[in-house]
Structures are given as structure tokens and as C-alpha cells.
């Protein structure tokens, strides 16, 4: 184990997979000489050269589309989008090709493409630079959606993603890059998809979260403990595949559930989680499921307005109080 940041964990994962498989290469805006907008690819070009760490023009649709084609051509591209906000320029290639190719062509081809993108708000960057767009991709069959919350998961999940035979949206949270955690050094340390993790055990309520909101939920759980409520916290880790079994097991025990996500409330990925709980465990619930998410507005710039729009530990505590 080594105590490293989420950012360093991702960098390690990329290095190890570049070493392991010569078909792996990286491309994106500023990923080479400047090591990526969030420094995730720092130093890689020095080791692997311009052939495998490729700086691109500002052309998101084509970067992703070229990733699809390169994957069909036998390579294993890791495409970095500078932030998820710019994935909206590339969504055609993600949804219309990457996610569909295997199925639409009757299993003749595959698209082993990883699209990495930072996302999330909280830094006063305004409406176009603060979004959490996982729901857009969760809605679409044919593409995996992974959102690591810790340094260890960042490494194990990225390595796993690169070894997949199908496309993956790999969404990192901008607030987590500097967060440290113990990370295994084993070169085959993989965190398989579809395995939610109980990160805190409790008996009174289940708080279901992913990405940065896992940390908000843990803070909320500490606050709740002071008032005598024992919360269980689950980190979903991937939204596609979704490990609903782990969630149901917990909810059957606690009989109460709060789903927390940073995307917009309406149509958010947490709404799907809530729907699946209702469908499978309605009789086990003692109270209606609560959702804590971003307000249904474009992210405002002012600090107070932004805080009003984002989910927070306090808002999670209040949601738990509503059903306790």
C-alpha cells in the first residue's frame, strides 16, 4: 500500500496499463506536454513519447470519434476530455457509435474505448463548467459508467476499464484529485465493475451515493451519529452496471433510503436507483425514499447561490431527518 492522491492513482493506472499493453494509448487536449488540465497524465509523454501520448486540437467530436475508430482498428484508446462539459460536443460519437457499434453490427465489432473526464461543481466556474452529466450516459445502453470516489478505486477501476472490451465513461470528480488514500501497488490490482461497497455500516438508514457525494454522505453520517442515528453509507462505484443487490440488502435492513448525487435532481441517476428500490423492496420500506441532488437550475456563479444549488452534508442530514 502507498498513500497517494486520487490524481497520482490515476496516473499510476495509466502508466501500468501503458506498460502492460502496447495497444493502449492516450489522446486529448493538453494531455501531453502539459500533463492534462488536472495533471492526471503528468510526465507520461516523457516516458512513452508522442506516439502513445497524443496532444490533439480542440476538436472533441473528432477526438472521441477517432477513439472509436482506433478501437475498431485494434487499439485501446484512453481519450481524455478536458472536462465532462465538453463531452456534449462529442455525445454523438459516444451515443450513436461507441455505445451502439457492437450491438448494431450484430456483434461483429467491439469498441474498447475509455473516455476519461473530470466533472462536478463547487469552484465557482459557472453554468457551463460545473456540470455532473453521468445521467446522460447512464440513460444510454451499451456504455459502462464508472465514478470512483477514492484513490484506490480510481486506480483499480481505471485499470479495469482499460482492460474492458466495451466502452467506458470514466468520470472523475474535480474535487477529489487532491484527496489521498491507501492504494495497492500490485500491478494487477483491479476493481471490477458492478460491485457497490458498503463504506460505513449502520442500521437506521441507508445513504446511497457515488463519486464526491460519498464523502458528503460520510460527513452526514458522522453528524447523524451525534444525534443518535446510525447511517449506513453505500458507494455505488459504477452506475452501469448497477449493483442493486447490495443496495437492496442494506435497505431491507434499515428500511429507509436516501439517494445522493450531484447531477440535477430531475432525471438524475439516483432517480433510477430509487425506482429500482421501490420496485424490488417497496414492502421493506418504512418511509418514502429521499433524494438529495443539485437544484434544477444551471449552476449559478456566486458562492452562496452555488452552495444553495449543490448537495451537501447538511442537506443529507435534513433528508434523513425528514424520514426518521
Amino acid at each position: 500500500m502507498a498513500l497517494i492522491t486520487y490524481r497520482e492513482a490515476l496516473n499510476q493506472a495509466l502508466r501500468e496499463e501503458l506498460d502492460r499493453d502496447e495497444r493502449v494509448f492516450i489522446m486529448g487536449e493538453e494531455v501531453g506536454y502539459f500533463g492534462g488540465a488536472f495533471k492526471v497524465t503528468d510526465g507520461l509523454i516523457a516516458t512513452y513519447g508522442e506516439k502513445r501520448v497524443r496532444d490533439t486540437p480542440i476538436s472533441e467530436l473528432t477526438i472521441v470519434g477517432a477513439g472509436v475508430g482506433a478501437a475498431m482498428g485494434g487499439l485501446r484508446p484512453v481519450v481524455e476530455l478536458m472536462t465532462i462539459n465538453f463531452a456534449l460536443l462529442a455525445i454523438d460519437q459516444i451515443v450513436n457509435t461507441a455505445a451502439k457499434a457492437r450491438y448494431m453490427f450484430g456483434g461483429q465489432t467491439k469498441v474498447p474505448l475509455v473516455i476519461r473526464a473530470p466533472q462536478g461543481g463547487g469552484h465557482q466556474l459557472g453554468a457551463q463548467h460545473s456540470q455532473s452529466l453521468e445521467a446522460y450516459f447512464v440513460h444510454c445502453p451499451g456504455i459502462r459508467v464508472a465514478l470512483p470516489a477514492t484513490a484506490a478505486d480510481a486506480k483499480g477501476m481505471l485499470k479495469y476499464a482499460i482492460r474492458q472490451e466495451d466502452p467506458v465513461m470514466f468520470l472523475e470528480h474535480e474535487s477529489l484529485y487532491g484527496m489521498k488514500g491507501e492504494v495497492p501497488e500490485d500491478e494487477d490490482y483491479l476493481v471490477p465493475f458492478g460491485q457497490a461497497k458498503v463504506v460505513r455500516e449502520g442500521k437506521d438508514v441507508t445513504i446511497i451515493a457515488y463519486s464526491k457525494t460519498v464523502h458528503d454522505a460520510l460527513i452526514a453520517a458522522d453528524l447523524l451519529e451525534n444525534q443518535g442515528t446510525d447511517a449506513e453509507v453505500i458507494d455505488l462505484r459504477t452506475l452501469n452496471p448497477l449493483d442493486i443487490a447490495t443496495v437492496l440488502e442494506s435497505v431491507r435492513k434499515t428500511a429507509r433510503a436516501v439517494v445522493v448525487y450531484e447531477g440535477w435532481l430531475t432525471g438524475g441517476a439516483g432517480a433510477e436507483v430509487a425506482a429500482q428500490i421501490y420496485q424490488a423492496a417497496f414492502d421493506d420500506l418504512d418511509a418514502p425514499i429521499q433524494r438529495v441532488a443539485s437544484a434544477d437550475v444551471p449552476m449559478p456563479y456566486n458562492r452562496h447561490l452555488e452552495a444553495a444549488a449543490l448537495p451537501s452534508p447538511d442537506k443529507i442530514v435534513r433528508a434523513v431527518e425528514r424520514i426518521s
Binding site: 487536449e29 493538453e30 506536454y33 502539459f34 500533463g35 488540465a37 495533471k39 503528468d42 496532444d55 490533439t56 486540437p57 480542440i58 476538436s59 472533441e60 467530436l61 473528432t62 462539459n85 465538453f86 460536443l89 469552484h123 465557482q124 466556474l125 459557472g126 453554468a127 457551463q128 463548467h129 437544484a295 434544477d296 437550475v297 444551471p298 449559478p300 456563479y301 456566486n302 458562492r303 452562496h304 447561490l305 452555488e306 452552495a307 444553495a308 444549488a309
Partner: protein
């Protein structure tokens, strides 16, 4: 010179306003007094001012993430701009937009846009509206060299060409997209040559010469108003400051040399204007100094206004989404 004294003084005033405003933003961001990303345009003032001085008040523009200069050049109020960057209710967007989204629609400014290339189709559509309504208005569309590699650039030039839209595409080529030299990611040395592929006129312009920018824009606007369609102007300029204020904290290594920066600083667009008008005898030093001093005072007053303005209430987060 075919440009009158009053217009020259106005150009000079706006270039100073931009210079002072941007310097202030840089200082306040560095001091931690204002948040967010600040992309300042020091060194690029002649392009913004040369273009907007050739437009009518009813003409429209689209702007970019590096947009403060465009706004000021089109007549934006520095106090309301500053208040917006402070996130205050008195700001142009009531504190909801921030640096990358300041706009004054009453001045024909259809928004700064934080998405690279995002403004290009919007300008194209704005020109379509003017053409259909036969208003004679033109739309000037600002974007960077980096944006010229987005699909929106190519698709818009094609559309504006086939529909002969009254739009002027202004590529501010400052040599870099973030930390990548334009040459490393661009197929052509001069982006202006891309106009050929869309059968529209394209010109390389000295973006640090406000008079040259003005003349090219005036000609392009005349063509547009005459129904002859779009023009691409590539204004070669340079940003003196980093891509974003404070970038030194997170970038490793250097992407340009001190000598290169010094070379461009020696070609300061404001000093170039001064030299031209002093040499021709059009204006005297004290006339210029008075205007420069006023611009400094306006920006100081803008900071005071912003500091003293009220913050929005948290409940305002839910306002303005719908009518």
C-alpha cells in the same frame, strides 16, 4: 488618416479601459478577492476595439471565455461587469454568470461563451435573423485560433457562405490554445486561408494595429450590409498574460520564452496608437493622458461599486430559469 479625431480618442479610451480592467482582474484574482477562472486579454485590445468601433450600436457580437475586452469595446459598463465578476446582484447577470458569461443584450452582445467555438453558430444565426428581417445589422463573431479547429467553425463558414449571411468571423490568433502552440495543432499557418474552402474572403490582419483592424472590419461590414455575405478576418495578436490568471501554480514547464513575450510587449497596441496619432499631429500628449487617466478612474470606481454592492440572496438561485 480616414478616421476622425473623436473616433480615435474613443478607441484610445476603450483600449485603456480594457487594459485597466484586465489588469485589475488579474490583481484581484491573484489577491484572492475574486474567484473563478479569469482569462484576461491584455495585449489583444486593438482587435476588440478595432472591430467594435467599426460596428453600429445595433450590430451584434458573440464573445468567448476571454471576453471582457469584447464587452468593453461594444460599450459594456465596467461597473456592472466588475460587479458580475464579484458575484454581486448588481452585476450584468445578477451574479449568476461570472467572468465567462458576462453579457449586455441591450448592446447587442449575445453572450460570452465558455465553450470554445460555441459562439460561432450563434453569430451565424444572429446574422440569419438580421438578413430575414432586412435590418441591415451585421454580427461580428469573436473566437480564438483554437476554436478554428472545432466543427462549429467549419460548419458555420459553410452555412454563412451558402446563405450569404451578414456575419464577420474574427479569429483572434494569439498563438496559443491554452498551453499548446497553434502551429502544433493547426493544419495551416494562416487560419484566414480556410476561407477559401468556403468560398468567402479571408484576410490576415495585424491584430495589434487598431486602425488596420478597423478598416478591415468596416469593409467586411459594408460587404455584409450589401448582401455579399460573410468575411473571415484573422487578427494576429498575442496575450501577454497566461491562459488563465494563476496558471503558474499548476503548469509545469514553460510553453513560451521570455523573449517572445518581450517581443510582443514591444508591439503594444496602445503605444502603437499613441505613436501614430502623435506623429501625425492629430492628438497631443495631454489629450491622451487625460483619457487614460479617466479610464483608470472608471475602473477604480467599478471596483468600489462592486465591493459595495449587495450579494444575491440564496433563494435567487431558483429565479430566472423561466419567464
Amino acid at each position: 488618416m480616414d478616421i476622425g479625431k473623436e473616433l480615435v480618442l474613443e478607441m484610445y479610451r476603450k483600449m485603456h479601459r480594457i487594459r485597466n480592467f484586465e489588469q485589475k482582474i488579474k490583481d484581484l484574482t491573484t489577491a484572492g478577492e475574486i474567484p473563478g477562472f479569469a482569462h484576461v486579454s491584455i495585449g489583444e485590445e486593438a482587435t476588440a476595439v478595432g472591430v467594435c468601433s467599426a460596428l453600429r450600436p445595433t450590430d451584434r457580437i458573440t464573445s468567448t471565455h476571454r471576453g471582457h475586452g469584447h464587452l468593453i469595446a461594444k460599450g459594456g459598463d465596467v461597473a456592472r461587469m466588475m460587479a458580475e465578476i464579484y458575484g454581486k446582484r448588481t452585476g450584468y447577470c445578477k451574479g449568476k454568470g461570472g467572468s465567462m458569461h458576462i453579457a449586455d443584450f441591450s448592446l447587442g452582445i449575445l453572450g460570452a461563451n465558455g465553450i470554445v467555438g460555441g459562439g460561432i453558430p450563434i453569430a451565424t444565426g444572429s446574422a440569419l435573423a438580421a438578413k430575414l428581417a432586412k435590418t441591415g445589422e451585421v454580427t461580428a463573431c469573436f473566437f480564438g485560433d483554437g476554436a478554428a479547429n472545432e466543427g462549429t467553425f467549419h460548419e458555420s463558414l459553410n452555412l454563412a457562405s451558402i446563405w450569404k449571411l451578414p456575419v464577420i468571423y474574427i479569429c483572434e490568433n494569439n498563438g496559443f490554445g491554452e498551453f499548446t502552440p497553434t502551429a502544433a495543432v493547426t493544419s495551416v499557418k494562416d487560419i484566414a486561408v480556410r476561407a477559401k474552402g468556403y468560398d468567402i474572403p479571408g484576410y490576415v490582419v495585424d491584430g495589434n494595429d487598431v486602425f488596420e483592424v478597423y478598416r478591415h472590419t468596416s469593409e467586411a461590414a459594408a460587404r455584409a450590409r450589401a448582401g455579399e455575405g460573410p468575411t473571415l478576418l484573422e487578427c494576429k495578436t498575442y496575450r501577454w498574460e497566461g491562459h488563465v490568471v494563476g496558471e503558474g501554480a499548476f503548469i509545469s514547464g514553460k510553453y513560451r520564452t521570455e523573449e517572445e513575450v518581450a517581443r510582443w510587449k514591444a508591439r503594444c497596441p496602445i503605444i502603437a496608437l499613441e505613436k501614430a496619432v502623435l506623429e501625425s499631429g492629430m492628438l497631443k500628449r495631454d489629450e491622451l493622458d487625460r483619457v487614460a487617466q479617466q479610464a483608470r478612474e472608471e475602473v477604480e470606481a467599478a471596483v468600489q461599486f462592486a465591493r459595495q454592492s449587495p450579494l444575491p440572496e440564496p433563494s435567487e438561485a431558483n429565479e430566472d430559469l423561466w419567464i
